[in-house]
Amino acid sequence: MRFARPALVLLLLPVAARAAPPTITGTTVDATTGQAIAGVEIGVEYAGRSAPQAARTDATGGFSVALVTLFPGAVSLLGEVTLEITAPGYGKVTEILSCGHDGQACGDPVRVPLSRVAGAATFNDDEARVLDRLYSSEGRTLYLLPYDLPVSAGPAIDNTAFQDALAIGINTVLADLQLPPDTPGIEPPPPVGLKTLATIHVERTDAERVQAIGKRLNALAVVGGSGAGTSSGGAPETRIVSQYHVIPSTEGFSVGTVYVRDVVLGTPESAYEIAEGLSDRWALYTLLALSIRQFNRARDEGDVRGLAEVSAYLRAEKARWGVQDTATIRRLDRFIDLVEGELRRLSPPLAGGGPE
């Protein structure tokens, strides 16, 4: 029996090693500054079981999760541990670690960079959820803050009728855009969508917060305004002033916040009637917002056709305005120059290309 004890020790060694509680450790840091973030919630899923609030980071941003303590006796088929990391003001991160079937091989400490969400500081959790639900994946949506339209003082135009009228008015002009004859194969821009931001509280004059909301939504624009019913020579009319916050911008050209004034005469019976009387500036600013977004994408991707489309849209829009609209023409010219400069840069003339 001389060898019995060492043999027993050897037999028990792997058992002893396996018995040590496997622990996942890590640090959460700000993706931009690299600074540790304290108070971050760490949720864990393992072997089909979950612990939504398994740990919280300390002052150094560190956390530690003992799998065996959290899920005693659990054996994973996948050998994966899922960490769900949430912190106020930062985007949620889900990180999947390969930890072996018994959770023993999770390896080195994890470093989780968290990215600040655009305008996060100005939104609470409920608002952030609403904004994420309304997010425009295509980036082709105008968001309307509810208008202040007192129906008692004049013709009844409610928010729904006005939103419908805007959708009809803007998309009709975009679809009918007369593109220059030297741009064969280029089609007018597809229609934009309109959504109402009813549950988010924001003053339409708070440009900073409106911009933060617009960026978070990937919006083309955020629009709000008010109207008042009046009587002009006995005929009723509604005067509406809108603040149009254009969200996309590019180096060398931006629109920012502009105003649109509309006068709706009489008592319109449908959204079509309201749409007929809307200012041409609705389509102008929407086209500028669309063009800026497409210009940024096409420039970044080196998409010559995309730039050519933007150029065609802008030139078609310019043709809709008379020479007396000097400021608008000048603004469009400035953007056209920018787009065509980029086009020349991306598609230089062929060497010795011209006839001799």
């Binding site: 089909g48 994973s76 949620k92 994420d132 994946s137 980036g139």
Partner: protein, 192 residues
């Protein structure tokens, strides 16, 4: 073994399962939802019962010996096929896990991947996922383990994301057998 030969060998191994799945579909169209094992057992019971009846009929002289022998041989082949299918499934089991990657085809809200779930569904659209299903928000990776209920397998993958329409992608047997990563292309079509 080349890829083509390997695929042919795998197709041969999976042939009995394919036959059973066709039978399952046939029974389902008649309103009978049976698991794969249920179909196989039912088939074996029917074959054995028919075989017994045939032997009895041949012994009592109700059926001539030659046609009875031919029919018995055919029934024996069917029974052997069921047993062979069990053997093949035991020798070459399907992986109990499916892994893959979700690729977003359009820009999406930053929280979309972090909130997404992927589930494995059986032939009847029931969720059979027992583990995993979360998506790594850095790279779209996901892992899934499923409950192998009575010889059945996952038939599709369903992607769930908040406020987006559900997206279901079929998971053919060959794709499941081949292993590797499944790529799911996902566009969030907003719910009304």
């Amino acid at each position: 073994m080349g890829t083509e030969e390997r695929e042919q060998a795998l197709a041969l191994i999976d042939y009995p399962r394919v036959v059973v799945e066709h039978l399952q579909a046939l029974l389902a169209s008649a309103g009978l939802q049976l698991p794969a094992l249920g179909v196989q057992v039912a088939l074996l019971v029917i074959v054995l019962a028919l075989g017994g009846a045939l032997v009895y009929a041949a012994r009592t002289g109700k059926v001539a010996v030659l046609p009875a022998s031919v029919a018995l041989a055919a029934l024996g082949c069917a029974a052997l096929a069921v047993v062979a299918a069990w053997g093949l499934e035991a020798a070459f089991p399907l992986s109990p896990a499916v892994s893959g990657r979700v690729v977003l085809t359009a820009p999406a809200a930053p929280a979309l991947l972090a909130e997404m779930r992927v589930r494995l569904l059986d032939r009847w659209g029931r969720d059979i996922t027992v583990e995993g299903g979360r998506v790594d928000s850095r790279n779209g990776h996901f892992g899934l383990a499923y409950a192998k209920g009575l010889g059945d397998r996952p038939h599709s993958l369903r992607v769930e994301a908040p406020d987006c329409r559900l997206v279901t992608e079929p998971l053919p047997l060959a794709r499941l057998r081949a292993g590797g990563e499944v790529e799911l292309r996902f566009t969030c079509e907003a719910l009304p």
